[in-house]
Assembly symmetry: C3
Homo-oligomer: 244 residues x 3
């Protein structure tokens, strides 16, 4: 059994808001170190990894490891009812229900039924990324909103000075350039689906800073890390195949 208490519901809300757009069901592993999940969407386009370490929580008790399988839509419906100043408590009821208690002005108890699936946990693809950049997630979010007026896909180009996001549409093109300030010698380009990027951006309240890792025709690594590194949320997004 475990008992976990967290005084900032937004970390769980924003994570599972993104995760529920990517996978219908997920296995959460809970052990003495913390909780984590690894999942891949059905089309193998987006991989997601969430890790929340024991030290993030106000109370963290877990004697034996658990693997709990949940329907992500049901879980996010419950999490969205948590107000920002609620304290969330998670416990397990007889290995068949996840109990969420929200305490604020009133105390509300939610029970999410665990599901019984053969879950094969996805493992994080190992990729060497030649380029690593970071920027405020709000700036990145605004850029994607700029770009999507032109097309449903976006190219990420990096040269020695700039990261350039660009979309070419039938009637309009859009381009946003950043001075990245890193030492980068190679030139790379990859194209991604904007819809998939917007799914990941639902996790925009996880952390302020976004770490992007890129390579030529490689997946996009989109990493959000809590300030004291007590947790991270990482997405990997496959590039689109484009005809020349």
């Amino acid at each position: 059994m475990f008992k976990i208490v967290l005084s900032d519901p937004s970390i769980l809300k924003t994570s599972f808001d993104a995760i529920s757009g990517i996978v219908d069901e997920v296995q959460i592993e809970v052990d003495t170190d913390g909780l984590r999940l690894n999942a891949m969407d059905r089309s193998h386009i987006t991989y997601v990894h969430l890790e929340l370490k024991a030290e993030l929580f106000d109370i963290y008790k877990c004697e034996t490891p658990h693997k709990i399988n949940v329907d992500t839509d049901e879980l996010i419906k419950v999490l969205k009812r948590a107000k920002n100043d609620d304290v969330i408590e998670l416990t397990l009821e007889e290995e068949s229900n996840l109990i969420l208690v929200f305490e604020g002005a009133t105390k509300r108890t939610f029970k999410v039924k665990l599901i019984d699936i053969d879950y094969e946990s996805a493992s994080q693809p190992e990729i060497e990324f030649p380029v690593k950049l970071n920027m405020p997630i709000d700036v990145f979010k605004n850029t994607i909103q700029d770009i999507e007026i032109a097309s449903d896909k976006v190219s990420f180009k990096v040269d020695k000075d700039n990261l350039t996001l660009e979309a070419v549409g039938d009637f309009a093109d859009a381009k946003v350039e950043y001075l990245h300030g890193e030492k980068i010698s190679e030139e790379i380009e990859s194209i991604y689906s904007i819809d998939k990027i917007k799914e990941m951006l639902k996790a925009d309240r996880f952390a302020n800073n976004l770490y992007l890792s890129l390579g030529d025709k490689l997946p996009l690594k989109f990493a959000l890390v809590l300030e004291k590194e007590e947790g991270e949320l990482i997405f990997l997004l496959a590039p689109r195949l484009e005809e020349q």
Copy 2:
């Protein structure tokens, strides 16, 4: 003829917002004491009673009693155009139109055609309720929003300590408990439709405090009373029949 002036449009707006969800047509009785209505929805699930006493109004003149029948959708459309700092004046034009004048930055005149129906006024069912409680209406509204993520029906249970609202769903359950602070010896339970409760909750700006009266498998009485008792809005909601 009558002439009624009210400097707080929100009382009428919030009342008719709820009433128009329950009945399509309603008869408003206006006499020297004030105005009132009694109505029952077509399926006989929700009864509503509104009473606004003469002393609530800034000006109240009514020499002979009137029964005016209105289409509630048309009336609420007009009432929604009143701004919070408008003064509303209601008069009758030749027994065929209700005239609403809103005076604020500008003066706007609306005419709602009275309808010609044989209206049988509903009378308030007389029920002895063993349990009476009250709570801030905002707390109750939040609870219903918590509960509805699990199901479309909610059970109200009262024991000596708590009022418990609970819903059991296919994938999730939700439960909210209040310490009611009343001396209650019996245990009761009734189940209601959440959609019907949400209709009543549209009147949430009528008063801050909600009075609930309950009994075992009895209707729910949902009463809102103005601070100086110059007006009240009461709903009675039939319990759902549930198989065991």
Copy 3:
């Protein structure tokens, strides 16, 4: 070629928000004096004229006159991405693309493809209006929202004291009166489509003051003028023909 820089994007945003509801394509004339357009909707109900003089802009360079044809939906999609504190720069790329650069926290470049159409510029109908009034555009906007709950058409009546907007519906009527404060000797009445008025009202952030010109069964002239007269946006709306 030309280069135009404007530090208040809202003038262009609000103008083209209205214009894109009226015409799908428009020709913008750019010369040493400024930029302007004249357009008529397909059904010849609404005429629109926009003039932005060179002195409005922070930078205005135009050596030779240009006529550029744009898809208004594509242009407004791009303009809506400008934030209020962005600086907008407009240039032309080889007579085939309009380049819009928005500079704020980041620099974003949008390219709108020019379209190749035989464009016959509409010229402003010459009408003598017996009545000229003005009022804050917010007051007019609120009035139209009041009126539209009753009908989809509105009559404008002027007598020596008042401008009266009125709509008669199947179940409700609405009427708003203004003391116009002008010396007016004649009485006039014209009826217009509310939907068409709401299209013009999308330009409500162009200027605070609205100049209305009216006559008996004449078009409605709806004029917005910048404070120092460096720009104006004028609409002419044909009256509805009503059977007696």
